[in-house]
């Protein structure tokens, strides 16, 4: 069972991206492992579309959305940097996008799941 804040976040993601493009699994504490599917990115340099996954903890919105995972072969050219590295997400190969480099906000600011997802997409588009 999701806590109300997490349910609200998923509802907002579905409103932004479409009901059929946002799925989730409960994490057992009231939060959710959430995936936004079929995100179109410029190609090249990206293999498009990608999925984007993250955990929305039950302590959201106090807890930030971090880290964010996308398809493991995100870049056609295999490029990585400090913000992007190979990782594993729920026993699936993925590429981890590091919040600390993408988002340089003050540590105690809070943001919504929709804001985070859009921010990651904007960053990827800006950093081809």
């Amino acid at each position: 069972m999701l806590v109300p804040a997490v349910a609200q976040a998923i509802a907002e993601l579905r409103k932004q991206f479409g009901d059929d493009r946002v799925t989730y699994d409960e994490d057992g504490s009231g939060g959710a492992f959430t995936t936004v599917h079929a995100i179109e990115l410029p190609s090249p340099p990206y293999n498009s579309p990608t999925w984007m996954s993250f955990q929305i903890a039950y302590t959201y919105p106090a807890a930030e959305i971090y880290p964010v995972f996308v398809r493991p072969d995100l870049r056609c050219d295999g490029y990585t940097n400090n913000a992007m590295r190979a990782a594993s997400w729920r026993n699936t190969a993925a590429m981890q996008l590091s919040l600390r480099i993408i988002n340089n906000k003050r540590a105690v600011d809070v943001e919504t799941a929709v804001h985070k997802a859009l921010k990651v997409i904007a960053w990827l588009e800006a950093h081809r």
Binding site: V3, P4, G31, T59, Y66, A107
Partner: protein, 458 residues
């Protein structure tokens, strides 16, 4: 017997109101949330609206001072729209005792029936003297109750009553005679009437329980989901070897059971509530909302978040105690041995403002152990850190003293945080940072049940 009615302020709102009543405001309206339990009915001050002399506070047709009809109406609508209780307040003369006058009560008779219809929430009037307060609260279901006290939940917890508290008629407890020499039988009576919560009864928490019980705190409530392990034995008071060596029919002892053992020895007449469960569960957190004081002796960020919310939302003073010891794994050099004690006050010192709870740390904590390992977090909460009873005693002792002197209004430090360095023997005092737009301490201040707490799913 129904639970007593009281009204609670945070220190800043109270000081501001008293200053306004002394200077340019003849009265004020308090918008309050209501928190009820079998033990207490508490009006929690959420907002204060001063009525300025000559503007919203005028001389009426009767020749007596009164708030203007527009001011009353506007604030009544505000309370009704937000499901708040409406309490008016003004100042009388005098020092240690006060009562509502006949004209005050007559004014209540005239106006409160219609206000009750508007709000469907308690409506009342209150008067201050210099060190006293009295109130008349009208209830939606009918009936009126008197306020037993007005509590200012600051570092020094002030209790304003219609008359000074008289020591009870019971014989003084000879087992507490030495401490009564410090704060008298009246102080002992205050401790006996208190409900104090301790979140986490490991090393530090077990000491807090021992100290509070021996002080004679009448009602302790503790929560901890863990059973004692061998690694706890050197730090948890009253623990025994058989507590962590399970038998064929016996599991390791819950830490709350060990705490209960200590409390019943130290204060056989006291009430001890033990919860062998996670404080973050909503049904557990709910049982702490009518406490008079709270201690946090647990590490998780999400517990800190919830604790901080309860302090500010329900106007309950709190103390957070934590110890940290670091050893360089390669060189075995001790790099840090500190204990930190933090007074968390309603509307004042806040764990969120001071980045002791952060969005990143909360997200990090929520990750699975496998994910944390994959992400190579530096401060992995599953990795054990050094912990020593003597360091815990420093923190627990300081916290307990702040509690004792604070709740008996004997004194308080002029700082908010103290960090003791065991390697150097020095203590650093800090004032807490305060963010006027903080989503926790400011947004939740006095909100009571009107805002949800961040708890685990049901």
């Amino acid at each position: 017997m129904t639970a007593p009615w009281s009204l609670r302020f945070d220190q800043r709102s109270y000081d501001s109101l008293r200053e306004r009543l002394r200077t340019d405001a003849g009265a004020a309206v308090l918008a309050c949330t209501l928190q009820q339990s079998p033990r207490a009915n508490r009006l929690l001050v959420r907002a204060v609206f001063p009525a300025r002399n000559g503007i919203e506070h005028i001389i009426g047709e009767s020749g007596r001072h009164q708030m203007t009809a527009n001011f009353v109406r506007d604030n009544a609508f505000y309370c009704a729209d937000n499901n708040y209780c409406y309490v008016s307040v003004h100042q009388h003369g005098g020092r240690d005792s006060v009562e509502l006058s006949e004209p005050d009560l007559a004014a209540h008779e005239r106006s409160y029936p219609s206000l009750l219809q508007m709000l469907d929430a308690p409506v009342g009037g209150m008067v201050f003297a210099e060190s006293a307060a009295a109130g008349d609260i009208w209830l939606p279901a009918g009936g009126r109750v008197a306020l037993s006290e007005v509590v200012v939940a600051g570092k020094r917890v002030q209790s304003l009553r219609p008359k000074p508290l008289r020591p009870g008629s019971a014989q003084p407890d000879p087992t507490r005679q030495r401490q009564s020499l410090l704060f008298g039988n009246a102080g002992q009576q205050i401790l006996r009437g208190m409900k104090v919560g301790v979140v986490g009864v490991g090393g530090v928490g077990s000491m807090l329980v021992e100290y509070l019980a021996r002080l004679g705190v009448g009602h302790l409530i503790v929560a901890d989901p863990d059973r004692l392990e061998d690694t706890n034995f050197s730090r948890v008071l009253s623990s025994r070897v058989r507590d962590f060596r399970p038998g064929f029919w016996r599991k390791r002892t819950p830490k709350v059971d060990v705490a209960e053992r200590a409390a019943r020895i130290a204060n056989p007449a006291g009430r001890f509530e033990k919860i062998f469960d996670d404080f973050r569960r909503p049904d557990v957190a709910k049982r702490f909302l009518d406490c008079d004081y709270l201690f946090l002796a647990a590490d998780p960020m999400s517990v800190r978040l919830l604790f901080n919310q309860i302090v500010h939302q329900y106007l309950i003073p709190g103390v957070v105690i934590g110890s940290k010891a670091r050893v360089n794994q390669r060189t075995r050099e001790i790099t840090q041995v500190t204990t930190a004690v933090r007074l968390i006050g309603p509307g004042a010192a806040c764990l969120w403002c001071n980045q002791l709870v952060t969005p990143h740390l909360l997200a990090e904590e929520a990750a699975s152990p496998e994910q944390r390992g994959a992400q190579r977090y530096i401060d992995d909460p599953t990795v054990e850190a050094p912990s020593v009873i003597t360091l815990n005693a420093t923190g627990a002792g300081l916290a307990s003293n702040w509690f004792l002197f604070g709740v008996l209004d004997l004194g308080a430090p002029d700082y908010d945080f103290c960090v003791f360095d065991a390697l150097t023997g020095s203590a650093q005092e800090h004032r807490a940072r305060r963010d006027n737009s903080c989503p926790e301490c400011q947004n939740r201040l006095g909100a009571g049940n009107s805002l949800p707490l961040t708890t685990l799913a049901q």
